[in-house]
């Protein structure tokens, strides 16, 4: 019986062979990412008495969740992180202008196929878009990794997901993931390594693969994985990675999967996660016409260049509905610059969008808060109660196409009806 991606990746990271799911090993990650939680790691290091760092070149810090600072306390946390990085010679420090950690790290060539990457963020599963094993941990664990270079990891069981394409017009990878999360439920993939295989996933861009791997976390996955291929190599070269230094890991052809999930995407409608859980998923026809007060196009799930381009395609020549706020937060500075250079930014602003600086923005509760009783339709990955302002407000999740179409009409709208 062959080995899954996760087993092989953890064998490499632990230096052990013949691992089996359920085993606990000490694994040595290639990269430790900390975001706005960086100051918590530094405070923890201080409590430990400032021990030496294992390998400062494996440390990456990105000030993304609350940027720019909202309060003096947060500005102080940023200053602490900035100063520490400077003092210790940590070269992979990205300040408040960079964008969302996950996207920034991939754009800067810091994520490579076969890597083990841990981050202080649950959506670290996204690194599987480039064939890496990414997983979220707490800030104490990142601090421990800074010092010891390792952490305990359980070897996960694996799930194979195959989606039949092509998708109908107006339906996107976000809709596929919402449907899968609805079917699997919020804990259906707990502790699993999810592998996406098949011709449909092979046809996707790296950005679309990011959406898949990012959202896999919402079914509880430990990590997600798309087999690296020619598209992966294209992305890596574009972002300055020397392919000679890349050693991808592929699952064995006869790998064992504990669960196999198949989804027919060819007849899929746009999907919506309704309040207040991500697995509360319905086809758009069930909620068409629901009034929205705010539309948010942002987050590591769906604010990449192609997401903004899709939104602009719907918004071009249109105005958003009176009384609706459309907040657009590009995932990174590079994405924002590209969108500015080719007119997407102008299209969004002319339609009535409020464009913010890159970062997590409203998804992490930094701006874009709602009053009691309000409704936001968001392209993010979480709709938990109170995540965006009032505990009595509601968040619906959708693709950027649904978000743009709904901003124009002021109610949840099937995008195929807007783009004639």
């Amino acid at each position: 019986m062959g080995k899954s991606f996760a087993v092989k990746a953890l064998e490499r990271a632990s230096g052990q062979s013949d691992l089996v799911p359920g085993q606990i090993v000490d694994a040595y990650p290639d990269l430790y990412m900390s975001h706005t939680a960086t100051w918590r790691c530094i405070k923890t290091l201080e409590r430990m008495g400032w021990p030496d760092l294992f390998d400062k070149d494996r440390i990456a810090m990105v000030m993304d969740h609350i940027s720019p600072a909202l309060t003096a306390k947060i500005a102080g946390d940023h200053r602490l992180s900035r100063g520490f990085a400077d003092r210790m010679g940590i070269k992979n420090f990205f300040d408040v202008n960079a964008g969302i950690a996950h996207v920034v790290l991939m754009e800067h060539g810091l994520v490579k196929p076969g890597n083990l990457i841990i981050g202080t963020d649950s959506h670290s599963t996204i690194y599987g878009a480039l064939g890496a094993l990414g997983t979220g941990v707490g800030f104490s664990e990142i601090t421990a990794a800074w010092v010891t270079g390792k952490l305990w990891m359980k070897v996960p069981e694996s799930m194979r997901i195959e989606v039949k394409g092509p998708l109908p017009a107006g339906v996107y990878p976000k809709d596929v993931m919402l449907r899968l999360i609805g079917d699997l439920t919020a804990d259906g993939a707990t502790y699993y390594s999810i592998e996406f295989h098949g011709s449909w996933v092979e046809s996707l861009s790296t950005s679309e693969r990011m959406t898949l791997c990012n959202l896999a976390m919402e079914a509880g996955a430990k990590n997600a994985f798309v087999p690296p291929d020619a598209e992966t190599e294209r992305y890596l070269v574009e972002h300055g990675v020397d392919l000679d230094k890349v050693e991808p890991i592929l699952p064995d052809a006869d790998a064992h999967y504990d669960l196999r999930v198949d989804l027919d995407g060819t007849t899929l409608e746009p999907q919506i996660a309704v309040p207040h859980n991500v697995d509360n998923v319905v086809p758009i026809s069930a909620v068409v016409g629901t009034k929205v007060d705010q539309v948010f196009i942002g987050s590591c799930a769906n604010a990449k260049y192609d997401d903004l381009a899709i939104a602009a395609q719907y918004l071009k020549g249109n105005k958003i509905a009176p009384g609706v706020r459309l907040v657009v937060t590009p995932a990174s500075a590079d994405i924002m610059a590209r969108a500015a250079a080719d007119g997407i930014v102008t299209t969004l602003i002319e339609a009535g969008a409020l464009l913010t600086n890159p970062g997590c923005g409203a998804c992490a509760g930094s701006g874009g808060a709602m009053a009691d009783g309000e409704v936001t339709l968001s392209t993010a990955n979480r709709n938990f109660r109170g995540r965006m302002g009032s505990y009595d407000s509601s968040i619906y999740l959708s693709s950027p196409a649904v978000a743009a179409a709904s901003a124009i009409r002021g109610v949840i709208t099937d995008p195929t009806l807007v783009l004639a």
């Binding site: 430990m48 946390d77 981050g119 979220g136 707490g138 707990t190 430990k222 109170g386």
Partner: protein, 171 residues
């Protein structure tokens, strides 16, 4: 950090349902703090002041499946420690909440049979050495912690575990 001095922890219980997420346990706006006592004042705030008051009188949190789903925020565990919670008994956990619990020294056990038996307010005792959850006169077994996790838990969490190890190496 809570240090475990006794294998047996427990007291009055508060009961929650399935898939209680991290935004409900500790809303993102309070992550500017890492102080357990300060975080505790906001634990379960979205569920209202009655639940919050009850939490402070309940050393055992009981929950359905997928407790702590969502964010990787470690404060989801530390806010419970700050509120005086000694142990969590759930049907199952999200992966990262479970890690954060162990790594901050909070006893978190999976014991569906005990969850089925517990009524809110019941006295619940967790003996993580023996691997049992006791409700009234009945004890329910759970799978014991792997040795490496037990070591971390007994040290009061991952960082304390490392500090003790470093101190030992120095001597």
């Amino acid at each position: 950090m809570s240090t475990i001095t006794d294998n047996r922890l427990g007291g009055r219980s508060i009961v929650f349902g399935d898939s209680i997420n991290t935004d409900v346990i500790i809303p993102g706006r309070y992550l500017v703090s890492i102080d357990p006592a300060e975080l505790a004042t906001h634990a379960f705030e979205p569920l209202g002041p009655e639940i919050q008051a009850k939490l402070l009188e309940s050393p055992v949190v009981v929950a359905g499946k997928n407790f702590g789903c969502g964010s990787a925020r470690e404060q989801a565990a530390t806010c419970l420690i700050g509120a005086g919670v000694k142990a969590v008994v759930a049907r199952s956990y999200s992966r990262v909440f479970f890690r954060n619990a162990i790594n901050t020294g909070l006893v978190a056990v999976e014991c569906p049979a005990a969850v089925d038996a517990i009524q809110e307010g019941d006295e619940v005792w967790v003996d993580y050495g023996a691997g049992t959850v006791t409700v009234g006169d009945t004890s329910y077994p759970f799978a014991p912690f792997p040795p490496v996790l037990k070591e971390i838990l007994e040290a009061g969490g991952l960082i304390d575990h490392l500090m003790k190890k470093f101190a030992k190496e120095k001597n």
